[in-house]
Symmetry: C2
Subunit: 184 residues, 2 copies
């Protein structure tokens, strides 16, 4: 073998080593990235649900985000707890909440997510408009905090498990006679 051939051979070997290393790395990255990107997409879907649907009342995008069967796995005090809702009922749920508190806003405090789950801690503010029996208009904005885990199947949210600080909430509302009056 002459020197020139040896050099060519060394270069070929070096290039093969570098390329294979990169390919191995790229394939592995692709595998992990896919997982991370799904989690990222799920987070974005939850942020959109909270900002657009619950805080702004944009019901047009509910079908993009919510699965046709949405289960309220756990949500003490919620009238649909344990039930599976269709899309029309999910929209009704948002509409009812916004009927009581037309200016309602949810602020996401923090997000934790992995695989098909997104947990958020949040604060709510809203002013009751007095259109619900037993809940008079006070022009006083109330606030409440909560934590929710949202569950995904594919790119749709299929349900939640939630705790709202109902006691703190009630303490701020000027409940009428016959309803519990709790001082925070």
């Amino acid at each position: 073998m002459n020197k020139f051939f040896k050099l060519k051979l060394s270069i070929l070997l070096l290039i093969s080593i570098i390329i294979s290393g990169l390919i191995g790395s790229a394939l592995t990255t692709f595998f992990f990235r896919n997982q991370l990107m799904t989690t990222q997409k799920n987070k974005e879907a939850v942020v959109k649900l909270i900002d657009e649907v619950w805080s702004k009342g944009n019901l047009q995008i509910v079908d993009q985000l919510i699965a046709p069967q949405y289960t309220i796995r756990h949500d003490p005090g919620d009238q649909w707890e344990g039930k599976t809702l269709d899309l029309a009922t999910y929209k009704e749920r948002v509409r009812m909440s916004r009927h009581v508190f037309p200016d309602q806003k949810f602020y996401i405090e923090d997000i934790v997510a992995n695989d098909d789950k997104v947990a958020i801690s949040w604060h709510f503010t809203g002013t009751p408009k007095g259109n619900i029996p037993g809940l008079p208009a006070t022009n006083k904005t109330v606030s409440v905090s909560g934590l929710t885990i949202y569950y995904f199947s594919g790119d749709k949210i299929i349900g939640h498990w939630q705790i709202v600080d109902r006691l703190g909430f009630l303490g701020q509302l000027d409940m009428q006679k016959g309803r519990p009056k709790v001082i925070k």
Copy 2:
């Protein structure tokens, strides 16, 4: 070049390609695994905290799990809300809870974790032993559910953000006069 040399060369090339591919993949996996393993360790620490410390009262392991400065970021109704606790005060917190409910158990429903955060949904059961003014012994086991996000720094838990369904809890307790009596 003879045939034997060509064969040796091809084998050398093939081996280099395979080994570099594997090394590239391994390095990348190592990078991602490190992240995943931290999350896994954090999850295990939270499970240990709940099972051993809160459900069994094993205070010896608090120092392994909890940072010397532990902040209760948000926890409506908790007497230490907003405060930063030292280890002695953290242990006192567990002791007080177990004094009211000596048989208390926490059951983790689900875990969501990424980076330095672990969120858990949980159920609590406990029987008040009547050693707290205003909270008589009923021999009735009460249950309550909640959601908590635990925050880590290194391998220690540095705080939490929590919502407990206090209203559901109060509804089950036979509160004495002068205390709020709320029917669930």
